[in-house]
């Protein structure tokens, strides 16, 4: 039987009195594939930071695998959005992936050989084991994305969170990424964050639309009225990714 991974009950959060999230309720089951979508500034990042215990809710409660988020911090692995990193920084792909072992390895001294093996396995899973010696700065954006996912996997997480994973990736690479996430989803809970309502991969089980409040949908249920609630009366159309439905 599946366990509950994350329970968010009546959570509200504001930054210096400016409300970011109001009365949010959201449950995520173990090994569920959830997409958190919504416009920029709608509170998506706040929501995942609350889950990971990086922010404390002012009202309501969050439980992760039966404990408060800050005790469960190491069960999360987080793949951040691109622009936060300094691409001039002198590190190899292996150096970056090994960072996923922090918190699991010895506090003092260098990484152990077990850490290296685990990092290598993670690179293997994302199909980048041949790149381990390369400079991180020299990677293509797709390779970079995969290396960062490998870093997250090296931490052996129960919940994998990806912030805007498809930004800056061309459609073929995006597709490969979802195939990879689908594979990973067999082992762990996957949460992706996106400002793009238009895309929902066919592998997503649950869609949480965040714009101060959270509205839940099953992946197939996003329709034009949902989009107009989120974005107002804009000419936005839903891109149909369910390829099977087109078959006669």
């Amino acid at each position: 039987m599946k366990k509950r991974a994350v329970t968010i009950s009546d959570v509200s959060f504001s930054y210096d009195g400016v409300s970011a999230l109001e009365n949010v309720n959201l449950n995520i089951e173990e090994r569920e594939f959830t997409a958190i979508i919504g416009p920029n500034g709608g509170g998506k990042t706040t929501l995942i930071k609350l889950m990971m215990g990086l922010l404390q809710p002012q009202m309501g409660s969050i439980v992760v695998f039966g404990v408060p988020p800050w005790s469960a911090r190491r069960r999360f692995a987080y793949v951040p959005q691109h622009p936060r990193l300094d691409y001039e920084f002198p590190v190899t792909v292996m150096d970056v992936v090994l960072m996923g072992r922090l918190g699991s390895t010895a506090r003092i001294g260098p990484y152990r050989s077990a850490d290296r093996e685990s990092a290598m396995r993670a690179l293997d899973v994302v199909g980048c084991s041949n790149l381990y010696k390369r400079s991180f700065a020299a990677l293509s954006s797709g390779q970079r994305q995969r290396s960062l996912i490998a870093r997250a996997l090296a931490a052996q997480p129960d919940i994998l969170i990806l912030d805007e994973p498809t930004a800056n990736l061309d459609p073929t690479v995006q597709n490969d990424l979802y195939e990879l996430l689908h594979e990973l989803n067999k082992e762990m809970t996957v949460i992706i964050v996106s400002h793009d309502v238009g895309f929902v991969s066919k592998y997503v089980h649950k869609v949480a639309c965040v714009n101060r409040q959270v509205v839940l949908h099953s992946a197939s249920a996003i329709k034009g009225d949902v989009i107009s609630t989120l974005y107002g009366e804009m000419n936005v159309r839903m891109v149909d990714h369910d390829h099977h439905s087109r078959e006669p």
């Binding site: 990086l54 999360f76 300094d86 920084f89 590190v91 996923g100 390895t105 990484y111 700065a137």
Partner: protein, 284 residues
């Protein structure tokens, strides 16, 4: 050059000077690599200048209260660490604009130092010695202190290399992995402060930033791994300080400025010589 080698063989102060340069190069190469990679050279500059407050105060107290053990370097250590902790607290708690505090410490530190040195009775050490360094002034007490600082910096870097790397590269991720980023950021700034103290004897307060960054900038052209850059930068820095000392001795020039110009010349040469390969690496 033979004149210089003869001088090193004949005079203890020359050997001390050479030793001080080599010791400072180790610390400078290790910590300079973090400073350059993390892009906190401005903070390093501020710490370097605020050191004058401590040096001036120690110098004053030593003369006025007749405390011969109170080496100005002790004052330098206290002032540099205090400034490092202030900058780090501002960053962690975000209570003030970071760059404002950095600039304020820079100037206030110097002002305090100048007042102390001005008020110190009797024979006045030249302010220029502190500002531009005087490596041949490195006495045995200073050398012992440099050895201690070097050992401390080396041990801490070996112990926490991976955490410092992670905190410099991706703070948010490091925090999620349970690394206490506030602690390690403060540690990094404190190590930077101590490194600056070791370098001050070689090139002085004003020129410290050059020896902290130029060898690293050169080394970074030849490697993309942090620890390799550390080793290369230390070696290059050792070469520049030794050669700088030799050149300044032969040509009767100030050692600090000669060393810095040497490092600067290497940097310019390497930068001009390798733009193509670097651009190629980025595009690859």
């Amino acid at each position: 050059m033979s004149e210089f080698i003869d001088a090193v063989a004949a005079h203890a102060f020359m050997r001390n000077a050479l030793m001080a340069g080599l010791l400072a190069s180790v610390a400078g190469g290790l910590i300079g690599t973090y400073v350059v990679s993390r892009r906190i050279t401005l903070i390093a500059g501020s710490l370097a200048h605020s050191v004058l407050a401590g040096m001036g105060a120690a110098y004053y107290l030593r003369v006025v209260n007749d405390l011969p053990w109170l080496h100005p370097l002790y004052g330098a250590i206290v002032a540099a660490l205090a400034a490092a902790i202030i900058v780090s607290m501002v960053r962690i708690y975000g209570s003030e604009r970071e760059d404002t505090i950095i600039s304020a410490l820079w100037a206030i530190g110097m002002a305090i130092g100048i007042l102390f040195i001005f008020r110190t009775p009797g024979y006045k050490t030249d302010l220029m010695t502190y500002l531009f360094g005087n490596i041949v002034m490195a006495d045995t007490q200073a050398l012992r202190l440099l050895v201690g600082l070097d050992a401390l910096i080396l041990v801490v870097v070996i112990m926490f290399y991976k955490q410092l790397l992670a905190v410099c590269f991706d703070e948010e991720f490091a925090r999620l992995r349970g690394v206490r980023i506030g602690f390690f950021y403060t540690l990094l700034l404190c190590l930077t402060a101590l490194t600056i103290v070791t370098l001050i004897y070689v090139v002085g307060i004003v020129l410290v930033i050059a020896l902290l960054t130029l060898p690293v900038a050169v080394a970074a052209r030849f490697s993309t791994r942090l620890w390799e850059i550390m080793v290369l930068a230390s070696a290059l820095s050792a070469l520049c300080t030794s050669l700088g000392l030799a050149l300044s001795y032969e040509a009767d020039l100030p050692a600090g400025a000669t060393t810095v110009l040497l490092a600067g010349a290497v940097y310019v040469l390497v930068t001009v010589a390798t733009p193509v390969s670097r651009a190629a690496r980025k595009r690859r």
